[in-house]
Amino acid sequence: MMGRGKPEGMGGEDLAVTVARARAGDREAWGELYRQFAGPLFRFCRRVLPTREDAEDAAMDVFVKLRGKLGQYDPERPFTAWLYKVAANHCWDLLRRRKIRQDLETEEAETLPLEHPDPGQLDQMISEQTSGGVRQALSRLSDRARMALVLRYYAEMSYDEIAEALGLRRAFVGVVLLRARHELRQALAQGADAPPEAAGARGGR
């Protein structure tokens, strides 16, 4: 499968060597990294940002940043994690700067109770969904909910990393993720009723 936030066609050891070469200023090695990560990184931005153009711009910008910050990368840590951390910070900044974030504040995330799902209903809903339908529904979530899901299930970030990227306390990460799932379920339920063009209004570009 393409993606999963992992480099395309490069083993962990190879990757470490390539990163080391790129850090030493080897342009070929950097080109190698670019080729490996352009796809995953673009898809990351595409999942998080509202339009394809935004995602393209952001992906380019993130690569420029990555190259500039390569010297700061700690080789002890996984390169992929560092890459997505930079990308997440960039995209989150972008969203925050545009002030289109409509999600709830941390306190609310803490205090607002969640409705306990009916496993039977939920099971049925999940069985009926396609990947495309889920992506459409994701595009209708609040920025933070979408971001949290992408960080966890696309970039495979740890709870600590998500907390750092979103500026949350670690203890809230589980709640934010669960809340995002609830938002998603709601969007999926609405999407099933809504006409397809309305459902794809944002994510379909």
Partner: protein
Amino acid sequence: MNATTPVIPSNHVDEVTGLLYIEGQLEPASARGVVAHLERCPACRRLLDTLKRESLLLREALTEADEPLPARLLAPRLAEGVSWAWLTALGLAAAGLYAFWNIYVGPWMETLDQSGFGGQFIFTWLLFNGASWKGWNDMLQWVIVGSLVILATVLLFLFRRNLRRLTSISVFLAVALLLSLGFAPPAQATEFVKTRSTYEVPAGQTVRNDLFIFGNSAHIDGTLDGDLFFFGHSLTVDGQVTGDVFAFADSVRIKGKVGGNVRTFNQSISIEGDVARSVMSFVNHFELPAGATVGGSATLFVEDMQIEGRLGRDLCAFAGEGKLDGRVGGEVRLYQDRHARGVISVGSRADVAGDFHYRGPTAPDVSSNAKLASAPHVEIVHEVPDYLRSYSYWYNAMIWGMAFVIGLLFISVAPGFVQQASREVSRIGAPLGLGLVAFLGLPIAAVVACVTVVGLGVGISAFFLWVFLLCFAQVFTAVWLGETLMGTTSEAWPMTGRLALGLLVLRLGALIPVIGFWVRFIACVLGMGALVLLIFRRVQRPIVPSPMAAAPAAPAA
């Protein structure tokens, strides 16, 4: 989002705990509790299975490569490709420049030298070209439009990411500018004359168009029905010019009539006839002898003036010395330079209908017979160091405010750009060197662009850009200074604070005698250099050295 009362069965695993459990985020003790409960609770087992399936669905949906990679990312700018393209472009540009130099600049420079004009007059000529803009014919105007389009496109391309939010405004402004240029009133018939000797319009002859004369000298004894633009050694108007006279010459004598305005940059001007409208002169010696008249006002930047004739309206002069001994229909405002040694006198035949204001180091010598409408307002200004004068603080506060507003604009439009520029300033050496090159090179390039005619639009734009940078490039230096004092930041508001502090430090530095000039100069040059570096990097630095489509990864060595 639902906010209803939870309906979590108290003796079951709640959903958050379930999620944390399947994600391996529970404390071992809690996890053991969950395992124990799951063994005897099918409902909770089912919930957790469902959550796991939901995770799986999410992973699949998110990681699926559902759309192709954009072409921009597939084939980003290539270092190798760029270099030959740039080399070709630079080669073509150099060839073009060489050709234009030979065809246009060389001969004109020769004319210039023969007319007694050295290189220092090139700037006045630049202004001259700007002033005579309306005279260019249609073709030239479209060439200008073309060059502006190219310049605008290049700028938009270079800064497209920073200006993203302002792109529509920029495009709108650019289009508006181009339309206004494109639909400017059609140019009048214009004649260009280049001569090495004297150009003459003999008495009795009438020339019915605008006339551009480049030559040693010109005599207008007949009638010129249009504007006259003269560029050469000496100009004499014995006949009549119905339009305006623009002259860049060593000496100008107007014995006949001018129907419009007279504007000159020259060594000496003597108006012995009639000028129907106003006179504006940057000149060493200005003379308006008895019997001569100027219908409108006179604005003079002059070393020495002798006014015995009649002025229909106001006289405003920044003068070193001189005498006013004629009739002024409006008010008189005289400003004498603080360092001037001479005296401005008002003679017995002076007749001023309006107020009389004087400001300068020595009181004017006003004859008791002079007719002044009211008592003269005389303000004596002694030479005082800047830091002792209160107005200089207001002035500095104003400059600070202007720079701050411009900086704020930069930060709000393109915070990333300002941040990068500030990083570039911090390298000191490179921006200082490049800044000096830009400081000296940009005006020269602007002049060269203007001289080659084709690049007039580009030249004037470049010149204005240079003036703008001269005033505001310090903004980037200020941000760097602020960041040096308060620590770096990428957020807009903290950056604004650093900008304010940096500008304050720079302004305070500028108040110090002697050193102040260098503080301003270095701040300006550093800012310019940072901008040049940034632009250079944007053009030069590719994101990836070779295309995506290249052969698969070679094994890492």
